[in-house]
Symmetry: C2
Subunit: 189 residues, 2 copies
Amino acid sequence: MSRPKPETLAVRTVARSRLFHVQAVSLRFANGVEVDFERLAPGGGSGAVLVVPVRADGFILLIREYAAGTDRYELGLPKGRMEDGEDPLVTAVRELREETGFGARRVEPLRVMSLAPGYSAHQTHIVLARDLYPDPLPGDEPEEIEVVPWPLDDLHGLLAREDFTEARSVAAMYLARDALADDGDRLHE
Amino acid sequence: MSRPKPETLAVRTVARSRLFHVQAVSLRFANGVEVDFERLAPGGGSGAVLVVPVRADGFILLIREYAAGTDRYELGLPKGRMEDGEDPLVTAVRELREETGFGARRVEPLRVMSLAPGYSAHQTHIVLARDLYPDPLPGDEPEEIEVVPWPLDDLHGLLAREDFTEARSVAAMYLARDALADDGDRLHE
């Protein structure tokens, strides 16, 4: 089934802060029904990058940092915003250096994911990083970030932790495991 | 490493619309550094539920609907907001009936996930639904939702689709596959 997209009748700003821009959108669906939605306008650059840094011993470099949204320390993958027009692989290496102190000689895009397509245009590029080496870059974090290496083959143990909750990080760990398994398959063909 | 949480110095509303409430939070970290963050205040009830409806033949009932945030049709799992104080399993069955026309005799919680803990308190309950049977409930959707059954054992094919992008749906499909495999293991013990 392929449907024509709803027609956009009007878009207006209903709230705005330093970081957030809320729009009200009036739409007319193909069946004639008209609806108003609120959404977060695309802003703050072109999106975000989430990095899966794989050490040679099969451990993933997770980070544990304070999250203001949930008001607690959260375990997850290094991430950051892309600057305007920036290549996601460039963002990935910069954020990796700032948050873990490691650079990567080998980075590759795994997939682009959305966060909440119903009300946000936000896109996150998932990047696999390998061949890591010490190469710290000062970041703008309010306190030192804790790096927590975790064995990729203990994904179940990771999912059992109460502080590993972010959907993007959960999805990215599975995607990385699949990608690395595929690589292994190819090596043995 | 266990750190004391940053101290909250002040919280104030900086923008508000019908659905969104943006707060500025001033924090002092344990090392004395003070920082201001913006976040989306918890609101609109206690969270959301995402359902993985598994048919007896191993197909998952996906839905395809228009998403105002990305302005395109997106493939994903049925979901909806919990009403105040509502059990997530109750929300799951209601949303499943409204969006797919099926009820479920067996529902179980898989995991709670966060969306963007850095700036949002939003939590999503992932629920596995089995023993499905026809039991439609009228919803408030602007147009009929397309139901797309997809074989769980073709997760790679699903991930290759350009319209299956939501991180929560990607993570939930993997979690459901693991949970069902564990069930299978137990059956054979």
